[in-house]
Amino acid sequence: MRPAPLRVAAAAIAVSFALGLSACSAPAAETPVVEGLPDDSPTIDRVISAGELVVGTPDDMPGFNLLDPISGEYTGFEARLAELLSERILGETSVRHVAVTTDTREALIQNGTVDAVLSTYQITSERLEKIDFAGPDLLLGTGIVSAEALDLDEVTDLSELADLRLITTAGAAADLLTQAVPGAEIIVFDSVVSCVQALMDGRGDVFINNEATAIAVLSLVDGVKIVPNTLPLSSFGIGVSKDDPAFTDFVNAFLEEIIEDGTWAEIWEEEITPITGKPAPAAPVVGDLGLE
């Protein structure tokens, strides 16, 4: 009786090891087909040898990075940007999405698990200490969603929200609010959908996020409305490693290119305009990170 279970256990371990290893094997390496790529960028070398661009994105941002769980396909503005970027490097679209959350974004860039992060990633000086930003790729205002019944005047300053219960997703929105409106009750959830659900359940008075997400929320549920505001725009960028300035320059050049030839506006019209109903705004100025 003794040898048999040991053998079975050993076989089980071997099999699971093999399965695990196969799960992390990379697709076949490809020779670069694109001319003019910088040769001093480890990130680009990695992308080429892996044959795919690995991007960290969320799954649940309508208009930016939305995953259809059944088909496994991503739609949205930043998803399309990632595809274009991969095409720029590899000559064809080859993108692998790695799910990131606001906790894990910087770490995954720093440790090289992802080549870039596109997740309505707000540019802040604290983050710039850890990683670099290419872009900005987006300029967005703040979006405030409330129940239809709630009567709020146009918000000109965040401090006006101090008496309300504010729902938001983890990340820049949350700490912006914590700093700007210290007295307010701020409730933080992992995902946009949880936030919306909480708003509908009456756990908070308003849901705060970027304006495109806010508008997308309108299309998800009834009984909510947008509270107009004149809060300043924020800059969002593509997160990249601090240690690869060649790659940062490369992505910046890529962004400038697509802004100039109109592709940027085109993707906006295809992915975000259907949600907001507004045409593409003026493109951001690449290199102007929006910090004082």
């Binding site: 606001t102 906790d103 910087e106 770490a107 990340g171 820049a172 949350a174 700490d175 992992d190 009456g202």
Partner: protein, 214 residues
């Protein structure tokens, strides 16, 4: 270090929330679990079955699922529970099933013989339970309950999923701002380990106090 030193108050609040939630949940689980344990061994057939059903269902679902159901699913049948109470309720309901089993095993260990002996000595059923069975059961279950208390404390870390600002959630928020995962999560892990060790010490102390040399 800024991430930690600038936010000591914030972190302390998170730690306090963790401790409070853990204590409340553990207490609740003890009360509900003991009641369930009693029901489980009761002479009333229906109580036994219902308690068994409860344990079978709750023990076989992840605590995260239970919590998500309480916070996100119940509202769809018009039952909305506040977040922090929902966390405590979820942990209580979940760990009560474990307490039930611990109590049941404890009573079984003490043995039917004790009950019979007590009754034959002229004690009423109530007296037998309170003066003979219960103290011995308590002595026996201190250690598994200590392990459970540790588990409850660790489990509070899922509170962030439902928006409760306990230690793990606080650390995640700070990390969103400072992007210093190693430091922040390291500090939090240390705090959890310290809590676990404190509980272990406490359990040991109680066990020693009630120990009778056998």
């Amino acid at each position: 270090m800024n991430a930690v030193t600038d936010n000591l108050g914030f972190l302390a609040q998170g730690l306090l929330t963790t401790v409070v939630v853990a204590i409340l949940s553990f207490t609740g689980a003890l009360l509900l679990g003991t009641a369930l344990g009693v029901a489980r061994v009761s002479a009333v057939r229906s109580l036994r079955t219902i308690a068994m059903l409860y344990v079978a269902i709750v023990r076989n679902t992840p605590v995260l699922l239970l919590l998500i159901v309480l916070v996100f699913v119940l509202p769809s049948i018009d039952i909305v529970i506040d977040l922090a109470p929902a966390l405590v309720l979820g942990l209580t309901l979940y760990f009560a099933s474990y307490v039930c089993e611990i109590v049941r095993s404890g009573v079984a260990t003490v043995g039917a013989g004790q009950m019979e002996a007590a009754l034959s000595l002229g004690l009423s059923q109530w007296q037998a339970v309170v003066r003979v069975i219960a103290p011995q059961t308590f002595r026996v279950i201190v250690q598994p309950l200590g392990t459970l208390a540790m588990a409850v404390t660790m489990a509070t870390s899922i509170g962030a999923v439902v928006g409760v600002r306990e230690l793990a959630g606080t650390v995640r928020l700070l990390n969103g701002q400072y992007a210093n995962a190693g430091l922040l999560f390291g500090v939090a892990a240390l705090l959890y380990i310290v809590l676990a060790l404190l509980i272990a010490r406490l359990a040991k102390a109680i066990e020693n106090r009630v120990q009778v040399s056998s």
